[in-house]
């Protein structure tokens, strides 16, 4: 009778000792990534901050005097939102198509997606340029079919820009949804069938609710990444779709006003972080990626 509390105490002690040991271990493991991020992300950010204040902070006011900047800010946010929504919709169809297809088609779709992910954004965007040029590949194809003999008016328009941007961002929306679809318990689907639910009802009550969180976290990622879009809208949307990144580039490389460029960059990075933090609070995005 007297032994029991002792054993319990010992067991608890040893458990907490083990826990403490593993915590120390994991703290050690945290050092390399922390050092890496401090050097690779923290240091440039501090440099940027210093640069932006080299004229005593006036850059933060002056940047709004660059007429193209406020317009680019609005345009970038709208663009990111449109890309996010379209990518979520197309991504959902794509993920469902991958899961529901016969093996050969599933592998083809997956290969196309990963190949696209592994190819440089520059190359993919330039591919779209060759497709969309007034007398590019698309024109050639339509002309071959006898459907068009006037050059296309597609290149360097807003409409011409979105397909390319969706193609670039699609993997980031599809991959989380795929993993959500994969982790659905098949017993739940069977149960739905057993109780007489048809295809559509099963989808609506079992599948859909389980992929929504993944869809949202994919969407947030796409939105955040789209805020920094540079190459794709520049090449395909033309100058009338100038993004914040484009204005920053112009200030640093052409106007020789690195302080304005730095201030604009700080605003963009800060805004992006803010959006992510809010989204994380609302939708627990980081859990989906953790």
């Amino acid at each position: 009778m007297t032994t029991t509390p002792v054993t319990v105490a010992v067991r608890t002690a040893s458990r907490s000792a083990r826990a403490a040991g593993s915590a120390t271990e994991s703290r050690w493991l945290l050092w390399p990534p922390l050092v890496f991020f401090a050097l690779a992300l923290g240091a440039p950010l501090v440099m940027l901050l210093i640069q932006s204040f080299e004229t005593g902070g006036s850059a933060y006011m002056e940047m709004f005097d660059v007429a193209a900047f406020p317009a680019a800010l609005v345009r970038t946010v709208v663009m990111a939102a449109v890309v996010m929504l379209l990518t979520m919709v197309f991504g959902a169809f794509y993920a469902l198509a991958i899961m529901g297809s016969p093996l050969w088609l599933r592998l083809t779709l997956l290969a196309a997606l990963l190949l696209s992910l592994w190819t440089s954004v520059m190359v993919r965007s330039f591919g779209w340029v060759l497709l969309e040029l007034p007398k590019g590949a698309l024109y050639w194809f339509l002309n071959l079919l006898g459907l068009r003999d006037e050059p296309l008016d597609f290149y360097q328009t807003t409409i011409g820009m979105y397909p390319a941007m969706i193609a670039v961002m699609l993997p980031f929306a599809v991959l989380p949804m795929m993993s959500a679809l994969q982790s659905i318990d098949h017993e739940q689907l069977n149960a739905a069938r057993v109780f007489g639910a048809g295809e559509l009802l099963t989808f609506r009550t079992v599948t859909w609710p389980q992929i929504i969180p993944a869809m949202i976290s994919g969407g947030v990622l796409v939105f955040v990444m789209s805020l920094g879009f540079y190459v794709t809208p520049l090449l395909l949307g033309g100058p009338s779709n100038l993004t914040v990144s484009g204005v920053i580039n112009a200030q640093i490389n052409q106007a020789n006003r690195p302080d304005l460029g730095a201030a604009m960059s700080i605003l963009l990075v800060g805004g992006t972080m803010l959006v992510y933090l809010i989204a994380d609070r609302l939708f627990k995005v980081s859990e989906k990626w953790g």
Binding site: A68, R75, P151, N249, N256
Partner: protein
């Protein structure tokens, strides 16, 4: 300008490292060729900063190789950084001995720039550039097209360029914020402003005129894209630096360049008056002003010479596509001083128009 000092300091370290390396390399090279340097009083090397590429290669062939053989002074080329050369023009100690700089960067304040003797001055450069510019050359900004596009002859001037009924098809146009090139000037000429009344530029009037043709423009981000837009048939006419047309001609395309109302843009190199190797720098300046050597450079690049005697060494064929050839009687020159003084406004307003 304190805001540039940080970049400059960082860059200076890189330059210093490069300089040490080149010195080491220079010493070992000198050891093997003592007999060539013995014939002159010149020594050391010259740090030369330009934009590299085939143009730098042409300079190496046309000037630097023979200069080294003659004097033992090696010209060491490096890639130019804006922040560094702007600092030198502001009076910083010169990390580059000689560097490329447009007239609008140099002319507004020449108090830190080395004056070169008359024997080294190019007579085809504008008079205000002549005392400072080494290895000057003149590039063009013009409209051009594949000759087949307009069998009955293409646009004759900028008014024609804006006439999309008479000359149908899209036009390739510089589309990055800093490349306002001759954009405003072209629009004003097309709107009836006389060449001598262009400055100060009426930017509002220019952008209003540009708006009338906007839907017919295809914008390019880098100059070589203009070549691709032309050859793919995506545009009928391109407005660009004439080196791009020369590249197409070199590749065997039949291109017509409209030299009437083309812009001739003098450019070249300057040195700081703080350089320690003044003798070597001036010797090189004289070397590069030699018409026979400049003819080699002109033929390779299609860039116009700064010395009128060069034309004696060029064939008729080559002359026809050189910007400032005597046959091209109606060229237009930029007001570099005005453009330099209003540079930031020009970038910002052109960015705004592009994004509009």
């Amino acid at each position: 300008m304190p805001r540039k000092s940080r970049i400059r300091r960082v860059a200076a370290v890189g330059i210093a490292a490069t300089a040490v390396l080149t010195l080491v390399a220079g010493c070992s090279a000198d050891a093997g060729s003592t007999e060539s340097s013995a014939s002159s009083d010149l020594s050391g090397n010259i740090i030369w900063a330009d934009y590299g590429g085939p143009t730098n290669e042409s300079r190496q062939v046309a000037y630097f190789d023979s200069f080294y053989d003659e004097t033992g002074v090696e010209v060491v080329s490096t890639s130019i950084e804006d922040a560094i050369y702007l600092g030198i023009l502001d009076g910083d100690s010169p990390d580059y001995d000689i560097f490329q700089a447009g007239a609008s960067d140099v002319l507004p304040d020449t108090s830190n720039v080395l004056e070169i003797p008359e024997s080294a001055q190019g007579d085809l450069l504008p008079e205000n550039m002549q005392p400072y510019y080494i290895g000057g050359f003149i590039f063009g900004e013009a409209q051009g097209w594949l000759t087949d596009t307009f069998p009955d002859g293409g646009p004759q001037d900028w008014v024609d360029f804006f006439d999309t009924d008479k000359f149908p098809g899209k036009r390739a146009w510089p589309g990055s914020p800093g490349s306002f090139d001759a954009s405003y000037e072209i629009a004003l000429l097309a709107d009836g402003v006389a060449a001598e009344d262009l400055y100060p530029l009426d930017i509002e009037r220019a952008t209003a005129k540009l708006d009338t043709i906007r839907d017919d423009l295809v914008f390019y981000q880098s100059y070589p894209e203009a070549q691709q837009l032309l050859t793919s048939g995506s545009v009928a006419i391109a407005v660009t630096v004439t080196g791009q047309f020369q590249a197409l001609i070199n590749a065997g395309e039949d291109v017509t360049v409209q030299w009437n109302e083309a812009f001739a843009v003098p450019s070249g190199f300057v040195a700081s008056n703080q350089v320690e190797n003044t003798d070597e720098v001036i010797a090189l300046a004289e070397w590069m002003n030699d018409p026979e050597r400049q003819a080699v450079f002109t033929e390779r690049t299609g860039y116009g010479p700064s010395n009128s005697a060069v034309f004696d060494y060029l064939s008729e064929d080559v002359q026809g596509n050189i910007v400032n050839s005597p046959d091209h009687t109606n060229l237009i020159y930029w007001d570099d001083e005005w453009r330099g003084a209003n540079y930031e406004d020009l970038v910002n307003s052109y960015t705004d128009w592009l994004a509009g």
